[in-house]
């Protein structure tokens, strides 16, 4: 009895902040405003399949995928390193990894603006050793860099937490049976860490595919990603119906993605921050 009462505030919370907004989103996405009134129509979804919007979707997915792969390539070795047993000051290292996240996300992204500018710190230093200024800002590179920088901890932490939970006797057993370090890694550590990798991928890919701040600031407004498109529909154009339809399509894509990873995680013991 007690337990059900305790759940009410949370149910109330979910209704107000999840169910009702979702209902509104669906309502807006399947209606169209016409001079004679609001009518039910699938026009918004049909519009989303126009080449110009599909191109935006493809670009968002590509950039997010590139960032996720970069995060994985950078993050896995980092997690491996952090989880190794003979590492001294391990907690300090983990703390340093997380520390930038204590600072505001916008500020961190703005900081990159001044670093990458034509007269920014990096180009000034390059100039000192005789390299002409590079165009570092307002291109794919800057956007991917911003994503990787901001989302890297989301990749490292889940992998780290799974790796450090691996029963060390398994590794010892592999070594006792004559496996070299590479073989131990491939046959024991890597398969056991996959759940962490999976949750890392979801946790990086999802914010990366929907971001609009990074592409706005570091892309200079010329990289319309799906997040920018949604923002534009709500804030500049005022077409809530189309904006809602894009948001729903996006949720659908993420849901499918989640379906893949969670099916995988069920087989193994899930790790990570979820």
């Amino acid at each position: 009895m007690k337990k059900t009462w305790a759940a009410y505030p949370y149910i109330f919370w979910i209704i107000i902040f999840t169910i009702v907004p979702m209902g509104l989103l669906i309502y807006f996405s399947i209606t169209v405003k016409t001079p004679t009134g609001t009518i039910i129509s699938m026009d918004n979804f049909r519009r989303f399949t126009e080449p110009i919007y599909l191109k935006v979707l493809a670009r968002s997915l590509t950039l997010a995928a590139i960032s996720t792969v970069c995060c994985l390539l950078l993050g896995y070795p980092a997690a491996l390193f952090l989880s190794s047993r003979d590492l001294r000051h391990k907690n300090t290292m983990v703390l340093l990894m997380v520390l930038p996240m204590w600072m505001n996300f916008l500020l961190r992204t703005y900081a990159w603006l001044t670093l990458l500018e034509r007269k920014g710190l990096i180009n000034t230093l390059l100039g000192k050793i005789g390299i002409p200024p590079l165009n570092l800002l307002y291109n794919d590179f800057a956007v991917v860099l911003g994503m990787v920088y901001n989302f890297l901890p989301f990749m490292v932490l889940p992998i780290y937490s799974v790796l450090s939970k691996i029963d060390h006797s398994l590794i010892e057993a592999a070594e006792d049976l004559g496996a070299d370090p590479l073989r131990t890694f491939l046959k024991v550590r890597l398969p056991l860490s996959l759940p962490g990798v999976m949750s890392g991928i979801t946790m990086v890919f999802m914010p990366a595919v929907t971001t609009f701040v990074i592409s706005r600031l570091l892309g200079g407004g010329q990289y319309t990603l799906i997040g920018n498109l949604i923002e534009q529909q709500f804030l500049t154009v005022g077409d809530w119906n189309f904006g809602s339809a894009i948001s729903l399509m996006m949720m659908l894509i993420i849901l499918i993605g989640m379906g893949f990873t969670s099916r995988y995680e069920k087989e193994q013991e899930g790790g990570g921050l979820w």
Partner: protein, 346 residues
């Protein structure tokens, strides 16, 4: 007993979530919605002190952003400062309150040049705040000869050194001007040409920005930028290498004015605020601080000579000959939205 207490606690918790933010206010609050970087903020504090009214100050980046937010409702603004064509649109849609000019005696200081303009022909809804033009801000060290035409923004020589304005009416407008059309064109052919031109220009553009343009130009990050005249005045003051020009094809002449949206609870206080902004001292401080051109006769007299005689801030009749004021385009605006989305996602 214990269980009963627990239930009550949970109910209280639910209610308190609902009740947050419904606190009683005994001080009048004015919600002001203005362009970014568009007022000397110490002026706001002075108003708060003088009248014991709290001001919640909020900013927008483009007229379209402002319109969408106000139209959506739920924002409860008491003061808005949109531009000419947007004011016309809001008047037509019944979104604005008629002003009671007897509460705004300082209106007499506004130069008659800025009264009875097309967007508010009988001066019923708006009080002019600032005016200006759109033009090209360029860095004399990076641009070899003084630009005279919008076409310089399509010159491959300046690839990746051009900053365009992330505002659809302005960017499409100057493109139409470059092509020799009116910036209020509704002709689908002309709009299509403008779209193609903007897409063609995109590889040369460093970024599409609005308020960031000032930092970028002052720091010498770009050679050319499309800016509003007041921003140009501000930038030139900070970096003497910069100069501003209104291209020969003509440009946009604009007026920003203070209005009160329908639904305000504090119309009287809002009118007090408008009157306050029209006090000579306050109008002078704002004009001096933000660099835009004031329609206030007395404030202009107080500004330093080098500003009021400069053709950047106070252009002459001949500079404005080919300039046009934006008019509300009604349903064609959707077309502008589509063009701009297409250009930016190309």
């Amino acid at each position: 007993m214990k269980k009963g207490f627990f239930r009550i606690l949970m109910v209280v918790l639910c209610i308190s979530v609902l009740a947050v933010g419904c606190g009683k206010k005994n001080q009048v609050e004015l919600n002001v919605y203005n362009w970014g970087d568009y007022i000397d903020e110490s002026v706001l504090q002075e108003f708060e002190k003088k009248y014991n009214i709290k001001i919640n100050y909020d900013t927008f980046t483009t007229n379209e952003d402002m319109y969408v937010k106000v139209k959506a409702g739920g924002s409860h603004y008491d003061i808005l400062i949109p531009s000419d064509y947007m004011i016309k649109r809001m008047i037509d849609e019944g979104m604005l309150e008629k002003l009671d000019m007897s509460n705004i005696p300082n209106y007499k200081y506004i130069d008659s040049k800025f009264k009875n303009l097309e967007y508010d022909p009988n001066n019923e809804y708006s009080v002019p705040y600032m005016w200006g033009t759109v033009g090209i801000l360029y860095n004399k060290k990076m641009v070899s000869e003084k630009p005279t035409s919008w076409k310089v923004l399509w010159d491959k020589k300046y690839a990746k050194q051009i900053l365009m304005m992330d505002s659809q009416r302005d960017s499409i407008g100057i493109t139409l001007k470059m092509l020799g059309y009116s910036l209020n064109s509704k002709n689908p052919d002309e709009l299509e040409q403008a779209k193609q031109a903007l897409i063609e220009q995109k590889p040369l553009v460093l970024a599409y920005v609005v308020d960031e343009v000032k930092d970028k130009m002052i720091a010498g990050e770009a050679a050319l930028a499309v800016v509003w005249s007041g921003d140009a005045v501000y930038c030139i003051r900070e970096n003497p290498d910069l100069d501003y020009v209104i291209p020969e094809e003509g440009s946009n002449l604009w007026f920003d004015a203070i209005v009160i949206p329908k639904g305000t609870q504090h119309k009287k206080e809002a009118e007090m605020f408008i009157n306050f902004l029209c006090e000579t001292d306050i109008a002078y401080r704002n004009a001096d601080y933000i660099g835009y051109s004031s329609p206030h006769t007395e404030a202009v007299k107080r500004l330093p000579k080098e500003i009021t005689s400069s053709r950047h801030a106070y252009p002459q009749e001949e500079d404005l000959k080919k300039c046009e004021v934006f008019v509300d385009l009604g349903s064609i605006l959707k077309e502008f939205d589509r063009i701009w989305t297409e250009v930016k996602s190309h």
